[in-house]
């Protein structure tokens, strides 16, 4: 038996922390966001006037000096993206389709790129 060499420390804590934070957002914030932005407007529970361009623009850019918009983007887009990336990366391993460095770079790379895009679009 060789216990002279110690195994390499995994960088997984970083991705797991993002996954967990995203998981909390997916469970706590996303249901309300889907309800308020997709389902209620479609079924007439929220009128089009309340989703008008000036009102949404103001909410996203100006409310709480823009912090409200950033918090919303972070908790409904960025962190859930990393949550999804983590599950897809490990899911590919479960399906014996990868789970190696390539799927890691692709999954977390797209999550980071789309997060930056979202932040760019609100700034």
């Amino acid at each position: 038996m060789n216990n002279t060499t110690q195994p390499k420390r995994s960088d997984e804590p970083v991705w797991w922390a993002l996954f967990s934070a995203g998981g909390v957002c997916f469970a706590v914030v996303v249901p309300g966001a889907i309800l308020a932005l997709a389902l209620l407007p479609a079924f007439g529970g929220i009128s089009a006037d309340n989703l008008s361009y000036p009102r949404i623009s103001a909410l996203l850019h100006d409310a709480l000096w823009g912090l409200a918009g950033l918090a919303f983007i972070g908790s409904v887009i960025c962190l859930p993206l990393f949550h999804a990336a983590h599950r897809i990366h490990h899911g590919l391993h479960d399906l014996k389709l990868g789970g190696g460095l390539l799927s890691k770079v692709l999954c977390y790379g797209s999550a980071a790129a789309l997060s930056l895009l979202a932040i760019y679009l609100v700034s």
């Binding site: 469970a27 309300g32 308020a36 997709a38 006037d49 887009i77 490990h90």
Partner: protein
């Protein structure tokens, strides 16, 4: 100890080496529900895609924003978002039940109830805000 390479097709004399098939998760219900939990991120990605498209439209101006509102009202979009909503609730159920086992900070029942309360409060807040009642 005789270390053998896993997954080689021909068993070495002396033992049978089982190989996990790709569809192992179809073999019983517990694994199917696990895969369903992992798959909740797929409809989530659709909803995030809708939001990114919405942010893009908003940055282009009022006409494009109207276009996005019309897009969000299309039946197939509503249907997929309904699926995303169910997925988010299923994810929430599994996540809230696992959390007290990962971090046992309080009695599990209390922690689960507290988390559902948080979801309910955030949902109420967002609906009141966007519905113009706040």
């Amino acid at each position: 100890m005789n270390l053998k390479k896993p997954g080689s097709s021909k068993p070495e004399p002396g033992s049978y080496q089982p190989v996990m098939p790709r569809n192992w998760w179809l073999q019983h219900r517990y694994f199917q529900i696990y895969m369903l939990r992992e798959a909740t991120v797929l409809p989530l990605l659709f909803f995030i895609g809708c939001l990114l498209y919405g942010l893009y439209c908003l940055s282009l101006g009022e006409t494009q924003w109207q276009h996005w509102l019309a897009f969000m009202a299309q039946p197939w979009v509503v249907l997929l978002n309904l699926l995303a909503f169910s997925a988010s609730l299923f994810h929430a159920k599994t996540f809230f039940e696992l959390f007290p086992r990962v971090m046992p900070l309080a009695p599990p029942g209390l922690m689960i109830a507290g988390q559902w309360l948080a979801t309910l409060l955030v949902a109420t807040g967002l609906v009141l805000l966007l519905g113009g009642w706040l």
